[in-house]
Point group: none
Chain length 134, copies 4
């Protein structure tokens, strides 16, 4: 498999929405492919319009720099990489984006926005967990 | 109802994907709300990466100027509205975008990209038809 | 192979530069991967600075819509796709960009700028021909 | 000589790639001319897609403000030049970009991205060292 499939992307979004509903968050969830192009997206009823862009930016950031966006943010802050967040059309250097890896290869990424940074991360983490984790 | 619901948007996308598959087109389908903000999106496997932006732009155009994007294009050409397509961050003035109306009010819009302009329009039209139309 | 390798990209650029020199053109040559991200680039001495962007835009266009950019341009003009060239951050709908295909799959794309549209296309075509074509 | 030649730019990129491989970094290397326009570029297999833009931004920063980008970053932080990194379309004010000087004149600049800031700087420094330094 070269990149994430539509079936896999929609399964990830369904799992994210379920968890978001469980914890009372109205979220936007974006899934991009390995080239950082949007594959699937859903905005739950009640989610802020501003979260549309944030969720996609998190997913794009996690595909362009394949690590959790929160870790990327700590790297940027810790090494004082002034201006790093301005590259690539604007990056989201805080929690809520995660790369989707398979056997060490990048398949794509998820980005969640709508709750607190910790809630967004929890939703994204749940969405990528294996089905047995339900 | 002020704007399109997630349930309705995903139903529209499902219907669009079914019809696209029927006619052998790998499409991107975007649904935006009445404020032209993305509500749901799906890229079928095999759809060109360039169609991601085109489909969203069609949906956005049909929400900002609530008529079929092909009609909007004819208006732009016929009235020599030079530069109109440059407004609003760039508009798609050709077939494939349709407003979603209910009792005369704008709920949102759909944009389809992946096939010819005529195929994209046929997919969008089918997606918005009432369920009895299947 | 998921996408074009550095070795392949640099071989393509070397072949393009050789042909450009043969026909007296100072060109910019860009090679992008399947996700339309830059893989390799060279600007020959004497090439216009403005060709840097044009060559990359051609390569990006041919990766996002995997057909020769000249054919893409005819499609845009023939179907009156007003505004299509504004999508995806601006597309180059004229000769000089070609997708790099292998067994039906997209590996990346080349974009050449510096000569006439026909010269740019000839350089790109030569660059992608098999080695025996030298 | 007004600006860097293609031959010199490609020699710099070759040296940078060799050193990056030696220290186990998959890097993007960009070389711009004295006018900050791209002259040559290579992305090593495995380098993050996000490093494409970062490497070019470092090179551009080091051509526009001809000093090491890390020094530029300290200047920005030390003198509280709030918003300086927002100028010129976005600057990279951290290690990895170096001007290419000859007899006091600016010929161009190199930008490296892919490793830590220190690794990127080490690769750029090696690339610009005289051949006898190998």
């Amino acid at each position: 498999m070269d990149s994430i499939t539509t079936t896999r992307a929609e399964e990830i979004i369904r799992r994210a929405c379920d968890r978001a509903a469980d914890i009372g968050v109205a979220a936007c969830i974006a899934v991009v492919d390995a080239g950082a192009h949007l594959k699937a997206f859903s905005r739950m009823d009640g989610a802020f319009a501003g979260a549309v862009d944030v969720s996609q930016r998190k997913a794009r950031t996690a595909a362009l720099f394949p690590l959790p966006t929160g870790d990327f943010g700590q790297l940027v802050a810790g090494q004082q990489l002034t201006g790093m967040e301005l590259t690539n059309g604007g990056l989201a250097a805080f929690h809520g984006g995660l790369p989707v890896m398979e056997e060490g290869r990048l398949l794509g990424a998820i980005g969640v926005s709508g709750g607190s940074a910790e809630q967004d991360l929890a939703i994204a983490t749940h969405a990528l967990a294996t089905q047995g984790a339900d």
